[in-house]
C-alpha cells in the first residue's frame, strides 16, 4: 500500500511541476496587479462594497472577523468601484453617496438575496425569420431549497408597435348605452377596428412577458444570443446606481458603478418606468 501511495504522490507532484502547464505551474505569467484590481465578478462587487473580503480577494471575511465590514476598508473599496474613465460621475456626488453608505450611525450594505436589485440582459432572438433585439429583466427569487433567477419583464419593440392605443378623435369607443343593445356593437370593436386596445381601460398595460412566452411556445420566437448584461441597484436608501462590466486596459476594470443618481420622492418610480421602457 505504501508503494501505491508513494507512486501516486510522485505522479501528482510530477504533473504539478510540469513547466508552464497548469495553474500556478512554474513559469506562469505574473499578474502586474491589473487582474487583482479588477472587480472580476458581481459577487466580488458585493463583497468589496460591504468589505467582506481581503484587499487581494483571497480571504473571505465573515461576521466576527476583525476586518469584516470594516469602515476604513469599505471606504477604500468603494472608492475603486466607480467607473472613472467614461461615466463622468462627479466627485461631489460620489462623496455624498459614500458619506451615506459609510455612515457611522447607520451604514448601508447591499445584499444578494434582498429585493431591490435586478439584471438587464440585452439579447437577440429570431422572430418570424428576423433577428430582433430583446431586453429581458431578471430578478432573484427564493425557490425550493435555494434561489433562482427568473424573467420578470421583457421589452420587445415589435410588441410595442402592435399596441398603440389611439387617442382623441381617432380613438374608437363603445357608447355608454351599449349595454341596452346587449353589446351588439362589440362587432365593431373586434371586427371592424384594427385597434381593439382602444376599448380597454385607461390603466390597461399589455403584458409583454406573457405575449413573449406565448410566441415562444408557438415556435415564433427562438433564442439566438446574448449581447450585454448590466444590473440596477435600488438597495441603498434614496440612491440608485447601475453596474456595468468594463473590459479595457488599466486598473479601473471589471464590474463598476457606471451611473449614480440621488433619488427624491417619486424619482424611483419614474426611473423604474424609464428602465423598463414601459412609460
Amino acid at each position: 500500500m505504501r508503494k501505491i501511495i508513494l507512486s501516486v504522490l510522485v505522479l501528482v507532484l510530477s504533473l504539478e511541476l510540469a513547466p508552464g502547464q497548469g495553474l500556478y505551474s512554474p513559469g506562469s505569467p505574473k499578474d502586474d496587479g491589473r487582474f487583482a484590481a479588477s472587480t472580476k465578478q458581481v459577487n466580488q462587487f458585493f463583497r468589496r462594497f460591504n468589505a467582506e473580503e481581503s484587499v487581494d480577494g483571497s480571504q473571505r471575511y465573515y461576521s466576527g472577523d476583525a476586518l469584516y465590514r470594516d469602515r476604513e476598508l469599505r471606504g477604500k473599496f468603494i472608492s475603486i468601484l466607480f467607473d472613472n474613465e467614461t461615466s463622468g460621475i462627479s466627485n461631489e456626488l460620489k462623496r455624498e453617496f459614500m458619506g451615506e453608505v459609510l455612515s457611522e450611525v447607520m451604514p448601508q450594505y447591499i445584499n444578494f438575496h434582498r429585493e431591490g436589485w435586478f439584471a438587464e440582459v440585452s439579447a437577440l432572438f429570431m422572430y418570424r425569420g428576423k433577428r430582433e433585439n430583446v431586453t429581458l429583466f431578471l430578478k432573484i427569487q427564493p425557490e425550493g431549497l435555494g434561489y433562482e433567477w427568473v424573467i420578470d419583464k421583457v421589452v420587445f419593440e415589435p410588441f410595442k408597435d402592435i399596441f398603440s392605443k389611439p387617442e382623441g378623435d381617432a380613438k374608437g369607443f363603445l357608447h355608454p348605452l351599449s349595454h341596452e343593445l346587449g353589446f351588439m356593437n362589440l362587432r365593431k370593436a373586434f371586427q371592424d377596428s384594427d385597434t381593439p386596445e382602444a376599448f380597454t381601460p385607461k390603466e390597461y398595460q399589455p403584458d409583454y412577458l406573457t405575449l413573449f412566452l406565448y410566441e415562444m411556445k408557438r415556435g415564433n420566437i427562438r433564442f439566438d444570443n446574448i449581447l450585454d448584461v448590466k444590473f440596477h441597484f435600488f438597495q441603498i436608501n434614496n440612491w440608485y446606481f447601475e453596474l456595468n462590466q468594463f473590459n479595457r486596459p488599466g486598473f479601473n476594470t471589471g464590474w463598476l458603478i457606471s451611473n449614480l443618481v440621488k433619488l427624491n420622492t417619486g424619482d424611483k418610480e419614474t426611473l423604474l418606468r424609464y428602465i423598463y421602457d414601459q412609460k
Partner: protein
C-alpha cells in the same frame, strides 16, 4: 497496480473531505475546504487545456487527456466564447471546444495561466446543490512558422462549479463527502 488507483483516489478524497462535510450548511471552514477542492479541479482543467493545445502532444495522448478533462464536467456543460471584436457568444460543447483547441492551425502553441484566481461565494440552487464561480486568466500564444505570424491573447475564464454532498460505502461505513463538478464556462477575451 492501475486497478487500485481509482479506489485509492476515491478513498483519498472521501477521507479528506469527510472531516469538513457533516451537514447541509456550509460553514466558513467547510467553504475553504470546498474552495481548495474546486481549485484542484480547475488546476486539473488548466493542465489538460495546456496539454491538449500543445503541438507537442500526440493525437492519441490528446484524446486521452480530453477524456480525462471531460470527466471533470457535469453533463451538458458548455463553453461560451466571445472576443473583443465579437460580443456575441459562440457556444461549444466542452468536447467540441477541446477538439477545436487541438486542431488550431499553429506550429507552436503555448498556453499558460496567470498566477491569480477568484472564487465566489457558494449559493444554493432550488435542487439543494450549491453553485459557485471560479475566475482564472489564461494566456495563449500561437506561432505560425511559415508566415512568421504570432497570435497572442489573454482570456478570462469564469468557471461554474457545482458542489454536492454525496455518500459512499467504504469498508461497511457510510462516508459523506462534498464533490465538485465543473459546469458551463464563460470565456471572455480581455484587453490585457
Amino acid at each position: 497496480m492501475k486497478k487500485y488507483l481509482p479506489l485509492f483516489l476515491l478513498l483519498f478524497f472521501a477521507t479528506t473531505a469527510v472531516s469538513v462535510a457533516q451537514s447541509d450548511n456550509i460553514s466558513p471552514a467547510r467553504k475553504q475546504a470546498i474552495d481548495s477542492l474546486a481549485l484542484e479541479k480547475v488546476k486539473d482543467l488548466s493542465k489538460y487545456i495546456s496539454i491538449i493545445g500543445s503541438k507537442e502532444t500526440q493525437f492519441s495522448e490528446a484524446n486521452r487527456v480530453m477524456d480525462r478533462a471531460e470527466e471533470l464536467f457535469a453533463p451538458g456543460a458548455e463553453m461560451g466564447v466571445s472576443s473583443l471584436n465579437r460580443k456575441e457568444i459562440a457556444y461549444y460543447k466542452v468536447r467540441r471546444y477541446f477538439e477545436r483547441l487541438m486542431a488550431l492551425n499553429y506550429d507552436r502553441v503555448n498556453i499558460t495561466w496567470y498566477d491569480i484566481h477568484y472564487i465566489s461565494d457558494l449559493e444554493r440552487q432550488p435542487d439543494g446543490r450549491y453553485v459557485g464561480v471560479v475566475t482564472v486568466y489564461q494566456r495563449f500564444e500561437g506561432t505560425s512558422l511559415e508566415s512568421g505570424l504570432n497570435y497572442r491573447d489573454t482570456t478570462k475564464k469564469d468557471i461554474t462549479i457545482y458542489v454536492e454532498k454525496k455518500q459512499t460505502q467504504i469498508a461497511g461505513r457510510t462516508i459523506e463527502f462534498w464533490d465538485v463538478m465543473l459546469g458551463d464556462i464563460r470565456v471572455t477575451e480581455t484587453s490585457a
